[in-house]
């Protein structure tokens, strides 16, 4: 069972306590954006085999949204972090690099 530490209440939450929220750090495109940008924002989710960044909600706990960095190939969790950031913090990136040197994900590395 997937276990993620909620960065807000500190609980090691089991999967049944959590709700998955899909790809993290989306840039929202609205009126005035190009067709390509709007299409990709709505329909083109990242689907990597490997390092992935996601939103999760501690639904049956404190109720708050947070971020997680995970490997979709091994189900290993690299870390969780606050929802109040627009990109993965350095310590999370370092934790991933320690295990997956040279990783990239979207514009991040």
């Amino acid at each position: 069972m997937l276990i993620l530490k909620c960065p807000y209440c500190g609980v090691d939450a089991e999967e049944t306590e959590l709700a998955a929220g899909g790809e993290a750090h989306l840039k929202r495109f609205g009126p005035g954006s190009s067709d390509d940008e709007f299409h990709d924002y709505l329909f083109m989710r990242e689907n990597p085999k490997g390092v992935h960044f996601e939103r999760w909600r501690h639904a049956n706990g404190c109720g708050k949204w947070f971020h997680a960095a995970r490997c979709t190939q091994t189900l290993e969790v690299f870390g969780t972090y606050s929802a109040q950031v627009t990109e993965p913090p350095q310590e999370i990136r370092d934790a991933i690099t320690a295990k997956r040197p040279g990783w990239t994900w979207r514009e991040f590395e």
């Binding site: 069972m1 049944t16 998955a20 299409h39 329909f43 989710r45 689907n47 995970r70 979709t72 091994t74």
Partner: protein, 414 residues
């Protein structure tokens, strides 16, 4: 290839079964093929088969990283139905269901198609209206389905509990010519027929790169070295995003785990397939007597072919309330597959931004039933550049807002 027949069984019986040949060859790859198909699941093998049968294209390789049929094709719960809502879906799924009817004869391989009937239970008022709408749509599409009341459901499935603790059974969408088939046999039958046409099925060989020149595909890199081709078909289900990335484009697909389980074998107790989408579980009985059970997908991206345990619990709970007699059954095995899900729950059978490179993916939780129709359409698209069956299933349909929305209609789309 030696023909399978009752006579062959008798002949082999008389000489201690020493004369059976291997069902397919296992050749080393050639330097070049007219067409390379990546992925020897049902859809890839069916594509190769109809390229040969319908278009006379025989210089074909099907490249498989594991063993043929070892992906979702060998992991699914084998439900076959064509009672979809949208016209383009009904067309391709009904084409497939129709081809399944005499596929055993066509392939000279017993795929054990069993049109035993599929029931999709309506357990809320909303579901009743939804299925009545589907039944009307199916009438117009020429797909034979019917909305039936609870008493008829009970006649067809005596072990069902109409007055479940949470949701009563209010009726059902009934497709009498839906059913099941033997999943491995579908892959094996197509593989044997492809091999007999001279095609190479190359197992234990992973495609690691897609080579292009001036925006055209020219070949693939594999763990057995580079292989050239004129045309390339990517038919790798949950791995389609990995393949498309090799070719330099993206697909509107996410990969998630879907699980199934089977019980110990018991005496025949249910001779149809029952899907209960509100409580979220479905069940049929295999010829061996095992109850074959499935439910919903996990909610997060996953490539491990392992799903979350609590989904099994949810599925079993749903079935115990629908069929109280299964509550004391022991479960024998459980497994998972990685399914490729699109935003509108409909597949992609499409040209791609790379010339002569085609994709067939996005069948998600429900593509076993589609294998013959999908292969038929994909072969037509690859051979002629156009297929009316595949026309609407382009990878660009989201941009134009032309969804083929089966997510509302199906809920659980197996």
């Amino acid at each position: 290839m030696r023909h399978y027949s009752a006579f062959a069984v008798a002949r082999e019986g008389l000489r201690y079964h020493t004369g059976w040949e291997r069902a397919w060859r296992s050749p080393e790859p050639k330097r070049r093929y007219d067409v390379i198909i990546v992925g020897a699941g049902g859809h890839g093998l069916a594509t190769a088969y109809y390229l040969g049968k319908n278009y006379g294209i025989h210089n074909v390789a099907v490249i498989e990283k594991g063993w043929l049929g070892g992906g979702n094709t060998g992991r699914n719960t084998t439900i076959i139905r064509s009672n979809y809502l949208q016209d383009s879906s009904a067309a391709i799924y009904e084409k497939a269901r129709g081809l399944y009817e005499d596929l055993s004869q066509d392939l000279n391989y017993n795929i054990m198609f069993s049109p035993r009937g599929v029931l999709m239970l309506a357990q809320t008022q909303h579901e009743i209206r939804g299925y009545q709408r589907t039944a009307h749509a199916n009438n117009l599409q020429g797909v034979s389905t019917e909305f039936i009341g609870p008493q008829k459901v009970k006649e067809i499935v005596p072990i069902i509990n109409l007055e479940g603790p949470r949701y009563p059974v209010l009726g059902a969408l009934w497709q009498p010519r839906g059913g099941t088939a033997r999943h491995d046999a579908v892959a094996w039958g197509y593989a044997r027929a492809c091999s007999a046409m001279g095609m190479d099925i190359i197992q234990q060989t992973e495609v690691t790169g897609v080579r292009t020149h001036d925006g055209r595909v020219v070949g693939v890199d594999t763990t057995k070295g580079p292989i050239d081709c004129e045309k390339l078909g990517m038919v790798v289900a949950g791995n389609c995003s990995v393949l498309s990335e090799m070719a330099g484009f993206r697909l509107p697909v996410e990969s998630v785990a879907l699980q199934a389980l089977v019980s110990e074998p018991i005496k025949p107790c249910m001779d149809v397939v029952v899907m209960a989408n509100t409580v979220h579980g479905y069940m049929s009985q295999s010829d061996k007597g095992e109850m074959v059970i499935g439910g919903g997908t996990d909610a997060y991206n996953n490539y491990t072919q392992r799903g979350s345990f609590h989904h099994i619990e949810e599925t079993v709970r749903a079935l115990v309330e629908t069929f109280p007699m299964v509550s004391r059954l022991k479960m024998l095995r459980q497994w998972g597959g990685i399914v490729d899900v699109t935003g509108d729950r409909s597949p992609l059978i499409s040209k791609t931004p790379v010339e002569n490179c085609f994709v067939n993916a996005g069948w998600g939780t429900g593509g076993f039933k589609a294998i013959p129709g999908s292969g038929w359409a994909m072969a037509q698209l690859m051979a002629t550049g156009h297929s009316s069956l595949a026309e609407e299933f382009t990878m660009t349909r989201f941009r134009e807002g032309k969804f083929i929305d089966e997510s509302v209609a199906a809920g659980v789309a197996h």
